[in-house]
């Protein structure tokens, strides 16, 4: 009696987590999918309209703008963070004095909310104030920096603020990776007379591939989910020039009364993240089994 209870107990303990967790993840996912096939507008209803919301979505200029912005933001934010991150990590790896303090400074933006970050950068990038005024005060009186209110350039302000927030995170991961590399390979290369930049280029950076891959994955999915930063920095404006799928979904669902359309855009976001993450999770879980 006691024995069978003891074997069931662990399962019983995790059961609520899995029931609720799966209901939250997969149940709501399916539910959102159903909504995306419905005629829901202000309120959810379940009148089946097939792919009508998706047709409407893909016919909207605003959705295409959001996708294009996601492309610009994704490439700029992920690429910029990776590049600055790896550069700082390699430099910090050169027996730098006060390395701890530098690391702390590079990483602190990650502890802040994107809303805080957005508010700060909105002030810095504000035309007429902020950086523009600073450079003018230095004597360059014709200097202009109006990206934040420029339809074509505003999304790059989001990129800058995003990189500022996340480059330190990439740096931390790369640095951890660098410290995990076996010294003896490098010693051997040094004995062979290879120069330091060459050692990094040919041996160290290639060895960082798994770290690079994890960082890429985390940053990419953050880019797709990115919402707060855009809301705080530009609120999708001017007009809807800096809309991304996440802000598009929010606007359609909660201020435009287009719930079906919002659900359809959320499903597209899900599909994008899934296409990126599922192969990654699959390979990670398979290659590093915890069975003992």
């Amino acid at each position: 009696m006691k024995n069978s209870f003891e074997t069931w107990l662990p399962k019983l303990v995790v059961a609520p987590a899995f029931v609720l967790g799966f209901a939250f993840i997969y149940g709501l996912m399916v539910w959102n999918g159903v909504l995306s096939f419905s005629a829901s507008r202000m309120l959810p209803n379940y009148e089946w309209v097939g792919l009508a919301q998706y047709d409407k979505l893909w016919a909207m200029d605003r959705w295409w703008v959001a996708l294009k912005n996601l492309g610009i933001f994704g490439v700029g934010y992920v690429g910029g963070s990776l590049l600055i991150g790896v550069l700082l990590a390699v430099l910090l790896d050169q027996k730098i004095r006060a390395e701890g303090a530098l690391r702390t400074i590079y990483l602190y933006p990650m502890a802040l909310s994107f809303v805080v970050t957005g508010t700060a950068w909105k002030w810095l990038l504000n035309p007429g104030m902020g950086l523009e005024k600073l450079v003018r005060d230095w004597g360059f009186t014709n200097f202009e920096f109006g990206w934040l209110v420029d339809t074509d350039m505003a999304i790059y302000c989001v990129v800058i603020a995003g990189i500022w927030q996340s480059a330190g995170f990439a740096m931390a991961l790369f640095l951890a990776g660098l410290r995990g590399i076996d010294d003896s390979i490098i010693k051997a290369a040094q004995v062979d007379g290879a120069s330091l930049p060459r050692i990094y280029w040919r041996i160290v950076l290639p060895a960082l591939r798994p770290v690079f891959f994890s960082t890429l994955m985390v940053l990419s999915h953050l880019a797709i989910k990115s919402f707060d930063l855009v809301m705080a920095l530009t609120a999708g404006g001017p007009g809807f020039a800096t809309d991304v799928p996440a802000t598009f979904m929010y606007t359609m669902s909660f201020s435009r009364g287009q719930i079906g359309l919002g659900a359809a855009s959320a499903t597209m976001m899900l599909a994008t993240v899934a296409a990126l993450v599922i192969p990654y999770l699959y390979s990670e879980l398979r290659s590093k089994p915890h069975d003992r």
Partner: protein, 293 residues
Amino acid sequence: MTAKPLASSSLFPSAGRMLVYAVLALAVAFFLLPLYAMLVTSFKDAEEIRSTSLLALPGGLNWSAWFTAWSSACTGVDCNGLRPFFWNSVSMAVPAVLISTVWGALNGYVLSLWKFRGSDTLFGLLLFGVFMPFQVVLLPMSQVLGWLGLSSSITGLVLVHCLAGLAGTTLFFRNYYAAIPKELVNAARMDGASFFQIFWRIVLPLSTPIVMVTLIWQFTNIWNDFLFGVVFSGTDSKPITVGLNNLANTSSSVKAYNVDMAAAIIAGLPTMVIYVLAGKFFVRGLTAGAVKG
């Protein structure tokens, strides 16, 4: 992570080292600029902001913008400053962080030390919750909260944060407990210790580091959340991120940048303090969250 930096200074020519330090210093300026600008601006009055440079130190420590941001700045029609939002965030984050951490610890304990057939697959499926875009849950979840009578309430937000954080906290504890030798557990079972006794007497005392990581990680996530806050909160339950965003985007004829900056610092202060005090746990959380499996 205890290995030494691999380059010795003699390898790098001194001109090169100068360059290294120059780039690192440039990066310091880039990362500190916004914080510095926020701080100095928050101590200036409107006239000073207009007449001085962005980088100029304020004439004195003028706290009035801080008081305004805390207790009398207007967000929309309310003029109570950030104070009510701040306390909303506290009363949301504390229970949500504690519940999701305890929950994750129990799950991780079972999933690594009491494995059953299919538990790895179940865990893999749960793990997708770390990555999925929460936009997918917004619409159905707001209906669920309505049915539960938790719409626009702090309790509703706590529930959402617990569910959203479940996958992550389970991941942390599972990976950590995977390093505990199974023999330890088996020996305790031989001695007649029960499932919960083993957890309480053996596993939990070994868990301090991962408990710290999870607490800090969850606190940072939940305190900084904006999406759930803006969608699921009502007039009296808006968290600080929503309060700050409303404050900074309230359109008025004269923009009070000093108040906005003080407000942004107030909103970021709790997580920054934790980062300074317990940075290594925060970093461990970041790295643990990035390297799965």
